[in-house]
């Protein structure tokens, strides 16, 4: 079962902003090739950091309000939210190595 949960605008507050662990948001679109190419790395990272970092997906076409809130100009865009604040942001097809380097400081009480 996928650990990448799709969130809607209605769920965003509870699932992301009020989360007691850091959350990685994957802003994606169904027409985006690099978004699809990132999925295996994201699925594995979600398993790797299960219980330490939550992973959610936001479809920018379905949930434009969230995309606008974070000024998402292209996909994929990834934003790490900690205590309700955006603390890290990167865009484009991301390698698994880069993903791990960015997320590991937020895992297990880091940062």
């Amino acid at each position: 079962m996928s650990l990448l949960k799709d969130v809607t605008t209605a769920e965003f507050e509870a699932e992301v902003l009020a989360s007691n662990i850091p959350v990685l948001i994957d802003f994606h679109a169904v027409w985006c090739g690099p978004c699809k190419a990132s999925v295996p790395a994201l699925e594995d990272a979600a398993r790797e950091f299960e219980g330490e970092i939550a992973f959610v997906k936001v479809d920018i076409d379905q949930e434009p309000t969230i995309a606008e809130r974070y000024n998402v100009q292209g996909v994929p865009t990834f934003i790490v939210i900690k205590d309700g604040e955006a603390v890290e942001r990167f865009s484009g097809l991301v390698s698994r190595g880069k993903l791990a380097s960015v997320l590991e400081p937020f895992a297990e009480g880091g940062q």
């Binding site: 594995d44 698994r96 190595g97």
Partner: protein, 291 residues
């Protein structure tokens, strides 16, 4: 470690090979772009192929962009003995990203802490061929390399490739695909930088502007251009040709860019062919999965 014994029997093996030769449903769902978003676990379960090997194959074959990899798929699957341990095979293959004399990244890292951290990761990859390395150990090894990179200059793509190898393929089989994507991207970047005719940032920008301008003008001249309308597409192409003819400076840049693209593609194809040959050799020598 999870053991996947290839095929189970000869009939299953031959059925898979026949499907791929005919570009049948298994081929379409596994060895093409569909692999990016598809759940490939049924391939593993049905054919006894380790999930990392299942992820490795389409990436190494170029995701079915052309039919050029069809013979490669057939040869590898034919060479794999019934009962082969394709998990160990995938791990042995991924070591080449470090050790291959022509394309491996070992020689790209400068002497120092980054190289030492990279070597520590490769030692774990070697160890994982025969025994499972736990998640904590992989994570510590990745953190050590990330820390070393923060303190020392090192080629980012090479470090990213090594970081992509530092995962437990039992839990994270997609690492095999990602490592191949990072590796091919690095080969492409190297080929682009190698010349002989590299283009400056200004030239690239000028070409991009010309392409966009001509594209918009040609699209405006062919308002009925739509997917599937081959006749309109031909008119569009003719209009693009006319616009390039009227822009000799832009056309010269485009010719250089096209030639550069051909050279880059040739280098990537040579790398892919060399790596496919290596996988084929490893497949021929594959050990059997433990019962």
């Amino acid at each position: 470690m999870t053991r996947f014994a290839a095929y189970g029997d000869e009939a299953t093996k031959q059925a898979l090979i026949a499907d791929i030769a005919a570009k049948g449903p298994v081929y379409s769902g596994w060895l093409t772009n569909a692999a990016f978003e598809g759940d490939l676990s049924p391939i593993s379960q049905t054919y006894g192929l380790h999930p990392a090997f299942v992820r490795l194959m389409p990436a190494l074959g170029g995701f079915g962009a052309t039919d050029a990899s069809l013979p490669f798929y057939g040869s590898v699957l034919e060479s794999l003995p019934v009962g082969a341990d394709t998990g160990a095979l995938a791990r042995r293959f991924l070591l080449l990203a470090w050790t291959d004399p022509a394309h491996g990244v070992a020689q790209r890292l400068p002497l120092g802490s980054v190289l030492a951290a990279g070597e520590a990761i490769i030692d774990l990859v070697r160890a994982s061929v025969t025994a499972r390395v736990d998640k904590k150990t992989w994570r510590a090894a990745r953190a050590a390399l990330a820390k070393a990179r923060a303190c020392e200059q090192a080629p980012e793509a090479a470090v990213d490739l090594v970081l992509s190898l530092a995962w437990d393929l039992e839990e994270a089989p997609g690492a095999a695909q990602d490592a191949m994507l990072v590796w091919s991207s690095q080969v492409m970047t190297d080929a682009a930088a190698a010349g002989p005719d590299t283009m400056t940032e200004e030239e690239n920008q000028a070409l991009f502007t010309a392409m966009r301008t001509h594209h918009e003008a040609a699209a405006a001249a062919v308002p009925d251009l739509k997917p599937g309308n081959a006749e309109a597409y031909e008119r569009f192409q003719a209009e693009m040709g006319r616009l390039w003819d009227g822009d000799p400076a832009g056309k010269a840049l485009k010719a250089r860019s096209d030639a550069r693209g051909v050279r880059i593609n040739a280098k990537v194809a040579a790398w892919r062919e060399a790596m496919q040959a290596q996988l084929l050799e490893l497949a021929k020598a594959a050990s059997l999965a433990a019962a």
